[in-house]
Symmetry: C2
Subunit: 345 residues, 2 copies
Amino acid sequence: MPSETDTSAPRARSKPTLRTVAEETGFAVTTVSRALAGDERIAEATRALVAEAAARVGYVPDRAAQRLRTGRTKVITLLLNTAHEYLGFTNEFLSGMTEALRGTGYAVNITPDTVGDDRMAVVRNILQNRLADGVVFTRTECFDPRVRFLLENDFPFVTHGRTDFTTPHPFVDYDNAAFARMAVERLASKGRKHICMILPDERFTFAQHLRYGFMSAVREAGLDYTFPDTVDLDSSPDEIAAAMADILGQSARPDGFICVGEVAALATLAALTDAGVEIGEGADVVAKRASPIFSQFRPRIETVFEDLRETGFEAGELLLKRIDGAEVQGLQVLHKPTKGFALSG
Amino acid sequence: MPSETDTSAPRARSKPTLRTVAEETGFAVTTVSRALAGDERIAEATRALVAEAAARVGYVPDRAAQRLRTGRTKVITLLLNTAHEYLGFTNEFLSGMTEALRGTGYAVNITPDTVGDDRMAVVRNILQNRLADGVVFTRTECFDPRVRFLLENDFPFVTHGRTDFTTPHPFVDYDNAAFARMAVERLASKGRKHICMILPDERFTFAQHLRYGFMSAVREAGLDYTFPDTVDLDSSPDEIAAAMADILGQSARPDGFICVGEVAALATLAALTDAGVEIGEGADVVAKRASPIFSQFRPRIETVFEDLRETGFEAGELLLKRIDGAEVQGLQVLHKPTKGFALSG
DNA sequence: CGCAGAATTTAAAACGTTGCAACAAAATTC
DNA sequence: GAATTTTGTTGCAACGTTTTAAATTCTGCG
């Protein structure tokens, strides 16, 4: 039949749209749109019919069109930082986040958390150009200007780490003060008298928390302490190791070491090994662990676990809820270090 | 120029659009669009005028609208794999990629490289829903079905790692065969007679390359060899360490070890340490290094460097060129291990 | 002066979606 | 049986851009 071929000819392999489904079912485009959105105003029977037809022709809504029409991007952006105290941070966190977004239709976008030296430009750009519906970032500072800006503009976001702003905002964090305290106490219980810990750059909130937990525990137990002041957690492994070697060469040298992250741990162990100090004898080391690799460090050290994948997952979940309009109150998660220190592996 | 009509209109704080610039300059929207695109048909003077006005009102093109109209998404997607032989892989690779895309208007999207067990569904979904203009993925297999699919559909992509397909496609890769050969030769030069290397899962192309380079060098030098067959590079640190301990317990035990990645290196070192084998005495270890952390491994080992950030950068660059229609020929980058082995740090 | 042919500019039509206002048909009320 | 509400459904108008086809102005030249 020629007419048959005629009508099927122009029907090229083009992407099915609402119109396709509309023609298929005989309903109007509007109705189809509503039906697929599960609108109560559309009859139950119609909804079923439309759903069936949509599935049959393989209809999938066009993101660009939805975005243009609604202004919602269905994108959330993670601000990527190059440095982290754990090598596997990005992979773990990101895996958790994408997992939380699975099936929601949201996509994860990555953008460096800084252009040149400017952290604000990144977030301003996202707001101004409506590049995302929400933002997640790490390495939060006590009075992080990004937080202030986002709060002022009422834009959904979740921070990894807290701030000192009085206005509450969603966050996921690990209780680093409790960790530091536990770590000091653990070393004290082993008879250590002089504790050393490498801190993150002081502008990060978690540096303050670590310091606070550390100091209060050290004071309580009446211990000596040292913070290496030439390096921080973002320094290169070599710099950290050199700083540790330096400290080990001093007359009043520490006998207890707390490590936040792989780099600090390995550099500390290397410095101790190079100085001929034996773990369990001349010194003890405890660390926070985010990857199973810690079990292979020699000498072995005791660790507690921080689950970064879970953290990323929660960051994703919280942000979705926030975008959906949830109140900030319920959107704050603080992980306590539950179990005590144990030998890794 | 048309008469200056009511400028007192409710000029709300709405995002400036082409229309805004059009009204501002007195030109038609079409002209403005063309002028901003640098279209030759628009008079030089007009282009300048429009550019100035656009900058003044802070015009930025709307991504959603462009995408809807042109079908181009200005997005490229990186397929994220949870496991990698280097902990820092994701961060490094991603940092490189975003760097390559800076200023191009392209955004990076992250999606897990597998849903359930299905690697194909991910890439099919991207094509079908036009979620991106191009794709990058890692952990390429010899006859990777994703590559076949993308080639068949003429969709731009870059793989990290090669395939054995006859049809060429863009890739970035490291010459792992050369690395393995170098490593064997290095160990041989130290008088080692029995070489051991943990391979990646054999379905990955780079596993074949490593094996090939290894085998040909081992045969040439007339050495013994062992591939631990209960683990691969993606096994857990504990499993790898256990397998190595096992091998060290055998009568004919290897005296040279090649490690691809941190996990293998640390697990091997731990097993050697635990077995009381001294590096330089009872055994030697060489490794490929992607992060500066290797300098802190004790005992120290010799390494060669693979630059994953650069790799990510190139992947981004190649994909952009490919999207722009460049021929596949020039879009294949193979990194040779240039310098020889040296003590890390 | 008239006119072909460049050189510029423009109006209008998409792209696929959703929100608004309206409408027909059925159900309810008085 | 008319008036009113309820229940489903629909057409039209955006959202901001690019593209097609057409209109306008500007040249130079006979």
